[in-house]
């Protein structure tokens, strides 16, 4: 097997940095609850588009950074993002064929999985939030998915990221 030549890796890095910044961005109180999971979304996209390049390792690393950013227990997001990256790299061929509405539903499912894992970990380590609004990010992320998908796809084509 010939080694695949990677190029324009900085586009991937920049997209992750922007996602982290959006995660940190101050928002009014009502919007904080529905803040989409930017990093997860970007990770899902790159795992789907370039499964040979972005995978479980990136998921773990970005999860660790997200833990530091969020101030959560080190490893909480690392665990959930690793799982998501694994599932997406397993299913990327099917995911690519889905229409965008169906993709969005799957993204909501992924985010739900992430939130569930986070909830368990928070419950085991310290106080878990017990409010229904905790799950709203799954919906907001799914609603934003088509736009993010198109944006990142255009970026990938423009800069020919492989």
């Amino acid at each position: 097997m010939t080694p695949v030549k990677h190029n324009a890796g900085w586009v991937i890095a920049v997209s992750f940095v922007v996602a982290l910044m959006l995660t940190l961005m101050p928002l009014p109180e009502w919007a904080r609850i529905i803040r989409p999971q930017w990093v997860t979304m970007v990770l899902i996209y790159w795992c789907m588009a370039l499964p040979g390049r972005i995978g479980v390792g990136w998921g773990w690393g970005m999860g660790l950074l997200l833990d530091v950013v969020n101030g959560s227990v080190l490893g909480q997001h690392a665990l959930s993002l690793t799982l998501i990256a694994y599932v997406v790299t397993m299913l990327y061929q099917r995911l690519r064929l889905f229409p965008q509405s169906q993709q969005a539903i799957l993204v909501a499912l992924f985010i739900f999985m992430q939130l569930l894992i986070s909830l368990w970990i928070k419950g085991a380590t310290d106080a878990a939030p017990h409010r229904w609004s905790y799950w709203l990010t799954a919906i907001s992320t799914a609603l934003l998915w088509p736009w993010i998908f198109m944006l990142l796809r255009d970026l990938r084509r423009r800069f020919q990221v492989t």
Binding site: T23, L24, V73, T125, A127
Partner: protein
């Protein structure tokens, strides 16, 4: 996966990974800085574009306030020395000056279901874990994580935070738990027949050895007494402006401030408050500290030990 489980365990149980976390947070720091820029720009624009008239008005209001506060301080000095003398008579430990410093909040959002925030000062400025945090109206929270350049603070409304308090009117002791809601504290384990009413001021009792005593913490807003339940359901609202603050006051408890070498002169000087105030900049000696502010205790001025009815509520405007 196994690695992340191991990491989680190590982080939560043994705190081995603080070095990794602080290393990574230095990596994150530029991001936080960049995200913070818009709000700093708007702040700057706000001050530099405002008109002459508003500035004059603000200046006048501030001067009036300063005058009022200074008049109150006149009494504070004599009360302070009286308190000191009485304490010497009783041979109890003195509560001298505490070293304080102002830190700014970075406008950066963390987990919306926790109540935490990032400060722009870190271990380079002498911050330490567990350090209490105040604003002009009361206790805000404590520092939970320190890196060289910035630190994370937990507010008293965080669901995993608890602060020992007492009712200012009668000294009834309680614990105020955070709920995760923006402006709500829960006071559990108060019997139905306890002497506590809506509007009571809760002050920090200093029992946990972490928060300095006698600072206002919260005000009781509702009490539900259900005869079937052993305890009343009490909620309180923090007096500190937790969601609006841009600057916070960091407090170094006296032992910590004195633990530093040059502060050895502070105790005997502290018998006269003026002298103590004069030596304060020398006592507040961490080299990086830009302006050790000799701010008085914001609200609850210490009463003479034997005052029958401490009316701190009147002092807090």
């Amino acid at each position: 996966m196994v690695l992340s489980l191991v990491i989680m365990f190590m982080d939560h149980r043994q705190h081995h990974l603080e070095t990794i976390r602080s290393g990574l947070s230095i990596l994150i720091y530029p991001l936080q800085y960049v995200v913070n820029i818009p709000s700093r720009v708007t702040q700057w624009a706000d001050t530099s574009i405002s008109t002459h008239n508003t500035l004059v008005d603000e200046n006048r209001a501030l001067k009036a306030k300063l005058f009022e506060q200074e008049t109150r301080l006149l009494k504070f000095a004599s009360l302070e020395s009286e308190n000191q003398r009485l304490r010497e008579l009783l041979q109890s430990a003195s509560r001298g000056w505490e070293r304080v410093q102002i830190a700014e909040l970075l406008s950066v959002d963390l987990d919306p279901f926790r109540r935490q925030m990032i400060l722009n000062k870190g271990s380079n400025d002498g911050l330490f874990e567990g350090q209490p945090l105040l604003d002009a109206h009361g206790v805000m929270g404590q520092v939970i994580r320190v890196t060289p350049f910035n630190s994370t603070a937990m507010l008293i409304t965080d669901p995993s935070h608890a602060i020992p308090v007492q009712v200012n009117r009668n000294g009834l002791r309680a614990i105020a738990l955070g709920t995760g809601a923006a402006n709500e504290l829960d006071i559990p384990h108060i019997p139905n027949n306890a002497d506590i009413v809506v509007g009571d001021l809760l002050i920090s009792s200093g029992m946990g050895q972490r928060f300095p005593p006698d600072y206002p913490v919260a005000e009781i807003v509702s009490i539900e007494r259900d005869p079937r339940e052993p305890f009343a359901k009490i909620t309180a609202r923090p007096t500190a402006r937790l969601e609006q603050a841009r600057e916070v006051l960091l407090v170094w408890p006296q032992q910590r401030a004195e633990a530093a070498p040059q502060a050895a002169t502070a105790p005997q000087a502290a018998t006269t408050p003026q002298a103590a105030a004069a030596t304060l900049p020398a006592a507040a000696l961490k080299p990086v500290a830009p302006q050790p502010v000799a701010a008085p205790k914001p609200a609850a001025a210490p009463q003479p030990a034997a005052a029958p009815h401490p009316v701190t509520r009147g002092v807090n405007p």
